[in-house]
């Protein structure tokens, strides 16, 4: 599903990723771990085709993202749902409207949008908050809205970039459990985090980065870094 082949990403003199290679199969749940500045977010942005690799190839569903034309990028991104650490929600729209936005972008019909948003808000436990604005929600609720928006269009891949970064352990667990639920439905989940408690709890595949280099890639991994 996602393949990195000897990927290096440089920003001027700074090397964010150096010779990283791995492959993620369809339906896998993968943690990408490492301390701040390890290259986790860069990796996520390379998959989203926000960045292009300086060297090597990033392939999603067999397509080398370097070969994507500008107008093909939206179609590529529609296959990926993203959960951001800073939520990236529209604060002048309600929870319902924020989630519906992902479906509108996909060009779905209004009736279908309404039904799907209701269903997904129920899944993430926000049915009662549908008409709330983001400022009226807690951090955990905001992250759940973000998660709902990421998965409502049923993308094949979910990328969660530090989704638990601002949350307490209990709320973080809730979010990861939701991601696992989605993964159980056959979706590929890639979660970048430096939350060792969550990683150790889930017992899933762990790709470990440090200073831009791939340190380890374990099928049932733990968080080893200090």
């Amino acid at each position: 599903m996602v393949k990195f082949e000897n990927v290096t990403k440089k920003f001027g003199e700074l090397t964010a990723l150096k010779g990283v290679s791995f492959e993620i199969k369809s339906g896998e749940f993968v943690f990408v771990i490492g301390p701040c500045g390890a290259g986790k977010s860069t990796l996520a942005k390379l998959i989203l085709r926000e960045y292009l690799p300086t060297e090597g190839q990033v392939k999603v569903k067999g397509i080398d993202l370097k070969n994507l034309r500008k107008k093909e990028i939206p179609e590529h991104r529609k296959k990926i749902g993203v959960v951001f650490q800073d939520f990236k929600l529209l604060f002048d729209r309600t929870v319902f409207e924020n989630v519906a936005l992902a479906l509108r972008v996909l060009g779905e019909k209004e009736e279908e949008i309404t039904q799907k948003v209701i269903n997904i808000l129920e899944l993430v436990g926000l049915s009662q908050r549908a008409n709330f604005f983001p400022v009226q929600l807690s951090g955990g609720e905001l992250q759940r809205v973000c998660l709902a928006r990421a998965v409502v269009g049923e993308p094949e891949i979910i990328i969660a970039d530090e989704p638990t970064g601002n949350l307490d352990l209990g709320t973080a667990r809730e979010i990861v459990n939701l991601l696992k639920k989605i993964n159980d439905k056959g979706k590929t989940v890639i979660m970048a985090t430096h939350n060792f408690e969550i990683v150790n709890l889930m017992n899933q595949r762990v790709i470990e980065l440090d200073k831009g280099k791939l340190v380890s890639d374990e099928k049932k991994g733990k968080y080893h870094l200090p």
């Binding site: 939206p74 991104r77 990236k88 936005l101 509108r104 972008v105």
Partner: protein, 289 residues
């Protein structure tokens, strides 16, 4: 499309002063356009009126006989440059005089057919022949005096040309200003909504999906500005109709045909759409790479 309109409407509702500025500049552009179209059209009608009037009037001596008049008419017809030569007898001249001054009894007193000269009113096929025909008539023994409207027509032609030139220049300047204002306003809105646009791009929104509301917004300003300008110009014209008719008595200037006004509306709305969407498109190209 409905969704894009809704988004465009939300953009406008949230920045009403910018929307008002854009509509006002569009209004001003199209108001000037309508005023100049109507003025130029009016001058054209006045010019046409003078061009189609008998353009050379030859006043005949009192002793001129009808056979002399016929000879003169035949001579003029032979030139091939005359459309019509009409003989106005002393009695007919008196009737015309009476009709023109029917509201002023003082001017009607003392005037009889005898003191008015008979005349020959000659219309040429082209304005260029006017002088030549006037010269031909001047040397005729039966002709007392020749009057023709060459100067009036020339002055009107110059006025019409000047009005067109000034109109084109002003409309071009205001059109350009409108375009730039739309560009700046839409550019500001794009900058204000940068975060939203980034989120939409990450969600996989197509370029059209992101750009459409901005393009529709520009078009909306153009259409509303053009329609308001046309409506107010038309109302002003209707209000001023009685004054204009009084001032240009005898010249069929008004009422302006509704079909003509609808054509003007169609042209202005189309131009509004072009200016609005072009301004937005330039802004979108500049700020949404």
């Amino acid at each position: 499309m409905k969704e894009h309109w809704r988004t465009a409407w939300t953009h406008m509702r949230r920045t009403p002063y910018q929307a008002l500025a854009a509509i006002l500049i569009m209004f001003l552009t199209f108001f000037i356009t309508t005023v100049f179209i109507l003025t130029a059209g009016g001058f054209q009608a006045i010019l046409r009126y003078f061009e189609t009037r008998p353009q050379v009037t030859a006043f005949l001596k009192d002793e001129t006989t009808s056979s002399q008049v016929d000879t003169l008419k035949a001579k003029l017809a032979q030139t091939g440059k005359v459309k019509e030569a009409k003989y106005i007898s002393k009695e007919e001249a008196l009737n015309i005089y009476r009709e023109q001054n029917k509201n002023d009894p003082l001017l009607l007193e003392m005037v009889t057919a005898n003191i008015l000269p008979a005349s020959l009113e000659v219309a040429t096929n082209d304005l260029a022949y006017l002088n030549e025909i006037a010269q031909t008539l001047r040397v005729e023994p039966a002709v007392e005096e020749v009057v023709f409207q060459e100067d009036v027509v020339k002055a009107l032609q110059q006025w019409t040309l000047n009005i067109r030139m000034i109109g084109i220049a002003l409309i071009s300047i205001f059109g350009l200003v409108s375009l730039l204002v739309i560009l700046v306003i839409i550019g500001m809105k794009i900058t204000l909504r940068r975060e939203e646009i980034d989120i939409l791009q990450l969600l996989g929104a197509s370029r059209w999906y992101i750009r459409a509301p901005f393009l529709l917004e520009g078009m909306f300003y153009g259409v509303v500005g053009a329609f308001m300008a046309w409506g107010i110009s038309y109302l002003l014209l209707l209000y001023l109709t009685s004054y204009i008719i009084k001032f240009f008595q005898g010249i069929a200037l008004l009422p302006v045909s509704p079909l003509f006004m609808l054509t003007v509306l169609g042209i202005e709305i189309s131009s509004g759409i072009v200016i609005g969407s072009l301004g937005s498109l330039l802004a979108v190209k500049r700020y949404l790479k």
